[in-house]
Symmetry: C2
Subunit: 308 residues, 2 copies
């Protein structure tokens, strides 16, 4: 077993559903250092020469394997930027699980900025899961600014599950993707903010190749006095299909600004967007309350269902 304290183990469970060393390839980073790494026959993880992060090379044709690269931080006052590059070979079919958990019981801010670049080979298939979580009752902020850049070769597909569970005080999330012919991207983002948290999430998906497609759905819940700004942009540069959807629930004094944008630069681009912001419908609450739940419990159940 890796050397981790109880807090780190709890964070690891929240962000990567892991109790122990995962199967397959992995790199576990704790408090700014790699504390465990494993490669497999098909997946090789190496440190970048300048120490700024890791390279993950997945051989062409690798099937049903996974890569876990969770990050946990339990020291107050840490600030790091890490660059991780994924090279996914042609025809591979893999699951990649990233995620960052910060526990900050101190007075100084803790910040992890992960820059992930994906080079998805022809006809490769990737499922990517990224969870962000914060805990700790210190005055120091828990800050996460992820940057995700995806380059998708012809015929490749990627499904991204981007989740900010709770406890992240400030986040600026940037995701960019460029798709070649027949590539397809599905994004499911879920953001929950509470207290005085601030979340900014920006997507820019360029459909550059014939028959490329993207479906980006972002769901957000802004509680208390938190604020969310969502910027979803789809650019159609070829005969392509793009859909974005932005559904948000506001509660208490939460505020949300949704700025989707569609840019059609080709006559055969088909782009569609929907957005809705509102509070939980009163009749939904009443229905659950007649079943015996308190108003708070009913709200919680609806929010959990919405973010599932």
């Amino acid at each position: 077993m890796l050397k981790m304290d109880e807090i780190q183990k709890r964070l690891l469970l929240e962000v990567a559903d892991l109790h122990d060393v995962p199967m397959g390839a992995y790199n576990l980073r704790a408090n700014g250092k790699s504390v465990g790494r494993g490669s497999s026959a098909n997946i090789e993880i190496t440190s970048k020469e300048d120490g700024s992060g890791i390279d993950i090379h997945i051989k062409p044709g690798t099937k049903n394997e996974s890569v876990h690269i969770p990050v946990v931080m339990s020291e107050s006052g840490m600030k790091e930027t890490v660059y991780n590059d994924f090279y996914i070979g042609e025809g591979a079919d893999v699951v990649i699980v990233a995620g960052c958990g910060i526990d900050n019981c101190g007075t100084q801010d803790s910040e992890h900025d992960g820059v992930h670049r994906f080079f998805v080979g022809e006809n490769a298939k990737v499922k990517y899961v990224e969870k962000h979580y914060g805990s700790g009752d210190g005055m120091g902020q828990r800050i996460l600014n992820p940057v995700t850049e995806v380059t998708m070769e012809a015929g490749s597909s990627m499904e991204m599950e981007m989740v900010q569970i709770k406890g992240v005080d400030s986040t600026s999330r940037t995701t960019k993707a460029n798709l070649k012919a027949d590539a397809s991207l599905i994004v499911r983002e879920r953001l929950m903010t509470h207290g005085k948290q601030y979340a900014y999430s920006e997507y820019e998906v360029s459909l550059d190749g014939e028959n490329a497609s993207a479906d980006v759905v972002s769901r957000g819940v802004a509680k208390d006095k938190s604020y969310q700004k969502l910027d979803l942009r789809i650019v159609g540069n070829a005969a392509c299909h793009g859909h974005t959807e932005c559904d948000s629930i506001i509660m208490d004094e939460g505020r949300i600004l949704a700025v989707p944008s569609l840019e059609a630069n080709n006559v055969d681009a088909m782009l569609v967007h929907e957005a809705a912001i509102g509070k939980i419908a009163g009749d939904q609450l009443i229905k659950l309350m007649t079943l015996g739940l308190t108003e708070k419990e009913a709200e919680e159940q609806i929010v959990n269902g919405f973010l599932k």
Copy 2:
């Protein structure tokens, strides 16, 4: 009859459906000068002291009356900015028709920038129609940059029909509205661009009072190498309902960028947005072509139906 040449008469017909002097109050502006004006018992039109435009005062309770203020320009190389302020008294119910037609057969640009401000009194009801049209085979551009600012008192309602028919080379359209309690705004915008035309249309609607509501629908068709940028923003600052919709057809090498935005600053704000960009569906074309239309005729029929 007013002194107008054939071109001016044709422009007047396009932008205001008028063959002659309209019933009710009116102000007709041609080539930078007022060439005819009429007030009614309830509607008074006066020139601003500094000559920059006109003030239109509509008495409280005025019912079923209309105001026409068309502008026609047939000289090449004219550039003017005109400020028109509308004061609509409590409980009035009126139709206001504005519109600008530019015919430019010369080599210099012709530009009309109309700044219209509406102060809509309590429980007043306004239907506003604004049409823009350009013609002429000169090299000079036909430029129209309208600014529309609407202040709506409690219980008032306004319906705006904003149409750019064709022939406008460059336009930057800005519309702002602030709504108090129980006020309601309906906007129907239709934009057609062709050739190398550029159209930018921006809306900012603030729902400031309890139970205010807005429904903003923009439909655009971008033909040839034209470009449209649409910026529809609804801000909910109270318990309110807001809906925006942006439907666009692209043809040939036309390009469209749609950037709607929803901002919810109050937990009881309900905001919804939809947008879609695409070309005319092939099966619609084929259906009309089997009825005997050529492809071009079929396209025209679909576009006309869409912009109706």
